[in-house]
């Protein structure tokens, strides 16, 4: 039953602009269909939404006697008492959307055998209509009566993209609902609605992306999928955050998500994600923003950490980067001259590393070193190429984080303290983090305004690396005040302690690095997000050498 909200309730609802652009119309209409339990929602857009937006669903529909009421401001079937606003379980609750839309366009709506036409807020027709399940609503001539608004719309392409984003988000968040979006008679989004989230992602981002997504299952509060680090984007456009199926924008949650990728993605790269927080409606306030884009959690910290836990567990299943021959290039044409293959075999030292309980289960078998700094190894799934610097950097970074966490570690005091020139701001940064630096194994005395005297280094750092390591580590501290600064510093320290690209490693050292990498967490990337290894699957090799057929 649709009824008018009392003025008291109406006043308690966040007021403001509801319909700003064609995409807002689509969003409101799709929300209404979802609230009406639709399983199939078809959206047809013409002229970037300015000519027509038509949405039809197979939901509960509106009874003939309620049809006119639906277009009255502050009339809704979803809220009755003031207290209902404390636990909003539906996407709509203001009784605003249809009224707002109808006031700036020409709307025709039919449901349950009735039909109504409202133009610029006035009912112009009302009578019998087709007896079809659900509801169909068409918005024509949007903003025709508000030229100012029309003038502020962006280009057609931009408006169409915004519409597509809206429908995509809902399709990703509601895999049980079948969405069909056509734009000027061309299909733009088409989801299966079979409840399979990966398939929903495939329909929006394509199958290759869908295959790279890691699912968050069995975690409290949080459901959805996140991309593994080996796949990322240059923008945040692929991130959909939601609460109870409602897409929202939330800086804190965005930060929580991206923080989980710290040390896995390169600077400027972002994950693809669909994350829905399923939470008791009483614990979240959606009545904050007139367009319902923002929410307030009663316990933001708990949501924040639940999200991080779920994402981190999912990321634990990350796989290494994989080699795929570029489509279209004949496999037989080598694009670059082959680098000279130099295998640094050191058979005598093999026996040395054979000892140790892990050796038996060590699945990567080193074959040699090629080019300036790559290792070649054989694993169960195929040939593995390893960037020796990135790999060692990751191993050391994890050890340094462990040192920070536990305060345990081995420190190499210097036989002769070493003076290192640094800028004054770095000295200040060092002073702020003295205890943490000592946990990492880095100890110093101040030695004039532009110099530190290093008295000890982490045992992980080879002799002779201190100068650059100290300068870069302290620069990382100075450039990243606050949260995460120590991690950045540890990354710099790991980078300057790791074997260099170009160093020669004997077979025993290679084996040791592979074993360490295998047992390291987040081993897919170095702490700066560059890949540590590349897998060339057996299947890929078979395909290339035509051994399949």
């Amino acid at each position: 039953m649709i009824h008018l909200l009392t003025p008291e309730i109406a006043d308690a609802i966040a007021a403001g602009e509801v319909i700003e652009r064609p995409a807002s119309v689509v969003k409101e209409l799709v929300e209404n269909s979802l609230d009406a339990n639709a399983r199939r929602i078809t959206i047809d857009v013409r002229g970037a939404g300015k000519i027509s937006i038509r949405v039809s669903d197979d939901g509960d529909g509106i009874s003939a006697e309620d049809l006119q009421m639906a277009f009255v401001r502050h009339a809704t079937s979803k809220v009755t008492n003031l207290s209902d606003l404390d636990a909003i379980a539906t996407l709509g609750f203001r009784g605003e959307a249809l009224a707002s839309i109808a006031s700036v366009s020409d709307v025709e709506c039919s449901s349950a055998g009735a039909r109504i036409r409202v133009r610029a807020g006035n009912v112009v027709e009302h009578g019998a209509g087709p007896l079809l399940p659900g509801l169909t609503l068409e918005v024509k001539d949007l903003f025709a009566n508000v030229p100012a608004r029309l003038k502020f719309l962006k280009s057609d392409n931009t408006e169409v993209a915004a519409i597509k984003d809206v429908v995509s988000s809902f399709a990703l968040l509601h895999p049980h609902v079948r969405f069909q979006l056509t734009i000027d008679a061309r299909s733009a989004v088409s989801s299966a609605g079979d409840g399979d989230r990966r398939r929903a992602i495939g329909s929006v981002h394509g199958l290759p992306v869908a295959a790279e997504m890691l699912e968050m299952i069995g975690m409290p509060l949080v459901t959805g999928m996140v991309s593994q680090p080996r796949m990322s984007r240059g923008s945040r456009d692929g991130i959909v955050l939601a609460v109870n199926g409602r897409p929202i924008s939330s800086r804190p949650l965005l930060y929580a998500l991206e923080d989980c990728y710290q040390g896995m993605l390169e600077r400027g790269r972002h994950p693809i994600a669909v994350i829905d927080i399923g939470i008791d409606p009483e614990l979240v306030d959606v009545n904050v923003h007139p367009a319902k884009r923002e929410v307030r959690f009663r316990e933001e910290g708990a949501v924040f950490s639940a999200l991080q836990r779920a994402v981190r567990v999912a990321l634990g299943g990350s796989q290494p980067y994989q080699y795929h021959a570029t489509a279209g290039i004949p496999a037989t044409v080598a694009r670059d001259p082959m680098p000279q293959l130099t295998l640094h075999e050191a058979a005598a030292s093999v026996a040395v590393a054979e000892i140790g309980a892990r050796a038996a289960e060590n699945v990567l078998r080193p074959i040699g070193q090629v080019g300036p700094g790559y290792l070649v190894a054989e694993g169960p799934e195929g040939l593995v190429l390893i960037d020796q610097h990135a790999a060692h950097e990751r191993v050391l970074y994890n050890r340094l984080l462990e040192r920070l966490r536990t305060g345990r570690g081995i420190t190499q005091p210097l036989l002769m303290p070493q003076a290192v020139d640094v800028e004054p701001r770095l000295i200040a940064a060092a002073a702020d983090h003295r205890a943490d630096l000592a946990n990492l194994g880095l100890e110093y005395e101040e030695f004039g305004p532009r110099s530190l005297r290093i008295t000890a280094v982490p045992v992980e750092m080879p002799a002779g690396r201190a100068t650059a390591a100290v300068q870069e580590t302290l620069a990382a501290l100075a450039d990243n005040r606050g949260e995460g600064a120590m991690e950045k510093a540890a990354a710099a320290l790991a980078c300057h302690s790791a074997v260099r690209f170009g160093d020669t490693l004997d077979l025993a050292e290679q084996r040791r690095l592979l074993v360490d990498l295998e047992s390291a967490v987040d081993a897919v990337t170095c702490p700066h997000g560059r890949p540590t290894r590349l897998l060339v699957e057996w299947q890929e090799l078979r395909r290339h050498f035509r051994r399949n057929y």
Binding site: V352, A353, I355, G356, A357, R358, R399, T406, G407, R408, G409, I410, T411, Q412, P413, L414, L415, M416, Q418, A456, V459, E460, A463, G464, R465, A466, T467, A468, R512, D516, S519
Partner: protein, 372 residues
């Protein structure tokens, strides 16, 4: 130029001289070897402007001359030749070097000798003489302790001090220090401090191998070059400019624990135990107690290992930890049956030396294990 020589002798000399060629040179001429006729035969020279190597090869000179030939090609080619007379003739106008040997008749394109940097020659600088095997062992015992940190150039060198008719070689990377003294004959009043790139010294043994017993060390007047000369071989190196840290102050002057053990047994034990020190960056623990030295290492994932060996222990018990690599580096160059270890508490530098001898010492800074 026209000369005749044996490919085997020439090939060996080319290989050694080529060691001075840097793979990263940007000057194409530095990829070539200078070939000159001299009264004794052929002189081969290569340089990377920091290090120069020169070798004389016996040859029959029928026409004097000089040119520069691509090192890699010439070396590879000569090494494939049968050991029969090789006749090399240079066409001065085209700089084409003709090599005839057995069934081979080959031409190699060369570059004029004038293009080759006129490297420094031993001038009338200060000279002294040392025994070749002593010098080679002194270099071996110190050079591995030098640093590879280009940010501190002086530490990438070995300090060579000349004083009172003796040479002292010292090298440190800030974690350990190696010092070796050896006798020299030369002007009694000669005093000098040179920092010789460790990279250059690393070539010394190879360059001088097979030469008769004495090495002549010549320090250029400008004190910016050093020459090592023995027989027909010569190594030249630029010196590193700078002030070497005062290493003497870190040599422990007292000890509370003195240990004497078999060098080979200790080497084997350290090597075996350190396999279990992977996670802890190669750190092994050393415990000295009455009559025994106990070595141990632990890695969470691999397990742990402990080994006890008989030792003469004099003084108080001690437990101390070291980077095993630094210990092995020293043990590898102490060619005595026994080695002496001196400790003065777990946080003070430890000292390794051949027992009862003063000519060599190796100082290692222990590591500190925080278990909080």
């Amino acid at each position: 130029m026209k000369v005749t020589c044996r490919p085997s002798v020439l090939g060996q000399a080319l290989q050694i001289v080529s060691r001075a060629i840097s793979s990263r040179t940007t000057l194409p001429i530095l990829n070539n070897i200078l070939i000159e006729t001299t009264s004794e035969g052929l002189a081969l020279t290569a340089t990377n402007l920091e290090i120069g190597i020169r070798k004389l090869v016996p040859a029959e000179v029928s026409m004097e001359g000089a040119t520069t030939a691509p090192a890699r090609l010439l070396t590879d080619f000569v090494s494939t030749l049968p050991d029969q007379d090789l006749e090399m003739t240079l066409d001065g106008a085209t700089q084409s070097l003709n090599l005839r040997c057995a069934r081979f008749d080959t031409h190699i394109k060369c570059i004029e000798a004038e293009e080759f940097p006129p490297g420094p020659r031993p001038d009338e600088g200060d000279r002294l003489e040392v025994a070749l095997d002593e010098l080679v062992s002194a270099v071996e015992q110190t050079q591995m302790a030098a640093s590879t940190d280009e940010a501190r150039p002086v530490l990438t060198g070995v300090l060579v001090q000349i004083q009172g008719g003796a040479l002292t070689l010292a090298a440190t990377d800030g974690h350990r220090l190696a010092v070796r003294k050896l006798a020299a004959t030369g002007p009694a009043d000669l005093e000098a401090s040179l920092i010789v790139p460790a990279r250059a010294l690393a070539e010394l043994a190879r360059v001088l191998k097979g030469e008769p017993g004495k090495v002549e060390v010549i320090i250029s007047k400008a004190r910016n070059q050093v020459f090592f000369k023995a027989g027909t071989s010569e190594l030249t190196s630029r010196l590193i400019d700078g002030k070497y840290p005062n290493y003497a102050q870190v040599i422990p002057s007292k000890s509370s624990t003195k240990v004497r053990v078999s060098t080979s047994e200790l080497t084997q034990t350290v090597r075996a135990v350190s396999l279990f020190a992977r996670d802890s960056a190669n750190v092994i623990r050393v415990k000295a107690q009455a009559g025994a030295l106990v070595l141990s290492a632990t890695t969470n994932e691999v397990g742990d290992s402990k080994a006890e060996m008989a030792a003469d222990v004099d003084g108080s018990d001690i437990q101390i930890a070291f980077n095993a690599r630094y210990v092995l580096d020293a043990l590898g160059v102490i060619d005595e049956d026994e080695v002496e270890l001196l400790f003065d508490g777990p946080l003070s530098p430890g000292l390794l030396r051949p027992p009862g001898k003063e000519h060599y010492l190796y100082v290692i800074m222990p590591v500190r294990v925080a278990m909080s």
